[in-house]
């Protein structure tokens, strides 16, 4: 099943074009990895999917991005509803400087997803459990989220993202600021999360892409060079550039 269908997406920062004609299908309940050297546009593409590029004044996006066959670049698309359905986890853990509980309950609160305190408690608990953080923090839910370790903070951000039951989770190099143990925990988590969510992950680490993803897209200089199943991209890529990047000849 195809969840997201990008058709001829161009992105401009002012006059400079950052993405050229990107067309990419993303499978439901699978992990899609976007790889490529720095500045190749993979993060820019990721941010198109929940329209986070709107925040940047000079950025303009052209083309169609269909999620559930609905074009999110259409004027009738409400970004608030869109971002409720499409969660995001950032490169650097960015918990709100509030308590753990407030961090996780923020999304459900602004979207009115809980009718009572009990329901909210439940949402917070299940979200933290799904993010594999519950056991570590259940006794200190009302302490500040900024007091956690880096890996815990990132899992808190994942718990926050899944608290509103998004269909898609976007991850922008979620492990780049973490140590190997924390990275392993997050990767395990991603594997678990794909049962309920479609996941798109931008990563610098090809090993990580190979470990966690089923599909991979390779970006270079704002163009999508090649995409397909991870197996194929890593073992038998069609394009010479992909081959060179995978084998470490550049990037």
């Amino acid at each position: 099943m195809i969840k997201i269908k990008a058709k001829d997406v161009d992105v401009f920062y002012g006059k400079k074009q950052a993405l050229f004609n990107i067309s990419l299908d993303i499978e439901e309940n699978q992990v899609t990895a976007l790889i490529g050297p720095s500045g190749c546009g993979k993060s820019t593409f990721l941010r198109c999917l929940n329209r986070m590029n709107d925040v940047i004044d000079i950025c303009s996006v052209k083309g169609e991005i269909l999620i559930n066959d609905f074009n999110i670049n259409d004027k009738s698309c409400d970004v608030v509803r869109l971002r409720e359905k499409i969660g995001m986890v950032f490169q650097k853990p960015n918990p709100f400087p509030k308590t753990l509980y407030e961090n996780v309950s923020y999304g459900p609160t602004i979207h009115g997803m809980a009718q009572s305190k009990q329901e909210m408690d439940e949402i917070v608990e299940t979200s933290l459990k799904k993010a594999a953080l519950w056991e570590e923090v259940k006794d200190r839910l009302h302490e500040p989220g900024t007091g956690l370790s880096g890996g815990q903070q990132q899992r808190l951000c994942i718990a926050r993202a899944i608290s509103v039951r998004p269909e898609v989770i976007l991850m922008d190099e979620p492990c780049s600021a973490l140590d190997p143990i924390a990275t392993a925990q997050i990767e395990e988590l991603i594997d678990e999360l794909k049962k309920e969510h479609t996941i798109i992950i931008v990563t610098h680490s090809m090993a990580q892409a190979a470990r966690v993803s089923q599909n991979t897209g390779f970006f270079h200089l704002g163009q999508l060079i090649e995409h397909g199943s991870t197996d194929k991209i890593f073992k038998n890529p069609d394009n010479k550039k992909t081959q060179d990047y995978i084998t470490g000849r550049f990037g």
């Binding site: 986070m52 608030v80 509803r81 971002r83 950032f90 960015n94 709100f96 400087p97 923020y106 602004i110």
Partner: protein
């Protein structure tokens, strides 16, 4: 080659040492000036917190007061106290002639009959009896007692006559002169008589002005800062506005005073000399300071927090109100307090809108005429009487104390509540 390198190294060390020395001497100079300044203020001003009283026996003669037998409370209110007041002063020297009696009367404050009246109102049983009453000494004798008066000047260059000094010295010798804490300095409004002048009016005037200023400047400035920082598009027009806000912060305060005079008083016909007009004028001055502080602290909130909230599906407004603004509040508040402290010390614009008028009542609302602390300092510094010299310093001490407390408060807010970003 090696030797050359060593020379170079030595030179660098020396340069560093020299630089440290310059820095230390600069700090030393600054501290020296500050110490001299504070020492001067305190040494001149501390005596204003003491007030000299003459202890004079007063006979509450019912006949002289034109009172009947068993007078009611109103009778006591309406009684004539001038004669017994005059008599009790004249009695200090039984041999005094008419001129000397006049001089005796001027040894105490202008309102001495009121003090005698209050004594009787407090204890109506005093009628027909004699009691030693504390009367406020005249400002000149107050200065004589504090040792600030040039007694060795020739008599015709002094306001205190030799005769008054003689009687006063007798009183001192008999222990009939006392110095007590000067409560009236804090409870009285301004007065032409230095011994009665207090800061209550100007203190309240300052408080009201600052409150009006806060209530106008804070919401306007914070809203402007939030709009400019979070919502406004970045283009030439907003750049232009930004430059002008920065320029506004550099406009001399007297210009705002002229604006207050020309617009608030002349066009809107607001009441002259009131903290309302003063506060509005000061708020114009404080506005850019708060806007700049608020924008700086909004900018200091990391963009990752905004992204986190937006990605959760919060609207721009929710992101701003739930996250950015609360996180920027400590910085905004301490900037506001510092802006208000600036406004509190401002004199020139208040003089222009008439808050320099002589006000001898304590204002009960921002609509009543009032002075303000810095203007009070200005008014007293212009007065000729010797008694006002110490009042000027004392008023400066009160103003400085006020400012130090406000700045301390700003520091505490900043350190206690500001989030640290790792």
């Amino acid at each position: 080659m090696n030797k050359n390198k060593e020379q170079l190294l030595n030179k660098r060390y020396k340069a560093e040492q020299r630089f440290r020395l310059y820095g230390l001497s600069a700090i030393f100079m600054a501290l020296l000036f500050l110490t001299i300044f504070i020492f001067k203020i305190f040494s001149t001003g501390y005596s204003a917190f003491q007030k000299t009283w003459l202890i004079v026996p007063v006979t509450f003669d019912a006949e002289l007061m034109m009172l009947d037998q068993n007078p009611s409370k109103e009778d006591l209110q309406d009684a004539d106290y001038y004669d017994i007041a005059l008599k009790s002063m004249a009695d200090l020297d039984p041999n005094a002639n008419e001129d000397q009696e006049n001089e005796l009367k001027r040894m105490v404050s202008y309102f001495f009959e009121k003090e005698i009246k209050n004594e009787l109102l407090n204890d109506p049983n005093l009628i027909g009896k004699t009691k030693e009453v504390y009367l406020t000494a005249s400002d000149d004798l107050d200065q004589v007692f504090k040792g600030n008066y040039p007694r060795d000047l020739p008599e015709d260059q002094r306001r205190v006559s030799d005769y008054q000094l003689k009687i006063f010295d007798q009183l001192v010798a008999n222990g009939k002169v006392e110095s007590k804490f000067n409560i009236s300095f804090f409870t009285n409004a301004d007065s032409r008589e230095a011994e009665l002048a207090g800061i209550a009016s100007s203190f309240m005037g300052s408080i009201f002005s600052i409150l009006v200023c806060l209530m106008i400047a804070f919401p306007v400035a914070v809203l402007a800062a939030i709009y400019l920082e979070e919502f406004a598009p970045k283009n030439r027009f907003t750049d232009f506005i930004e430059v002008n806000i920065n320029n506004l912060a550099a406009v001399p305060s007297i210009v705002f005073g002229l604006l207050g005079l020309g617009v608030l008083l002349a066009i809107f016909q607001l009441p002259r000399s009131t903290p309302l007009v003063g506060g509005i004028t000061l708020s114009l001055m404080t506005l850019p300071t708060i806007i700049i502080a608020a924008r700086a602290s909004l900018k200091a909130v990391p963009p990752s927090i905004r992204e986190a909230a937006l990605a959760m599906g919060a609207s721009r407004m929710q992101t701003t109100m739930h996250h950015t603004v609360p996180l920027s509040m400590p910085g905004t508040l301490s900037g506001t307090i510092i802006g208000l402290a600036q406004a509190l010390g401002e004199t020139a614009p208040l003089i222009l809108i008439g808050m320099v008028a002589f006000v001898n009542t304590i204002p009960g609302s921002p609509m009543d005429p009032a002075a303000s602390l810095p203007v009070q300092i200005y008014i007293w510094a212009e007065s000729a009487e010797r008694g006002f010299v110490e009042k000027v310093s004392a008023c400066i001490m009160v103003l400085l104390g006020f400012l130090i407390i406000m700045n301390l408060f700003a520091q505490i807010i900043r350190h206690k509540f500001e989030k640290k970003w790792s």
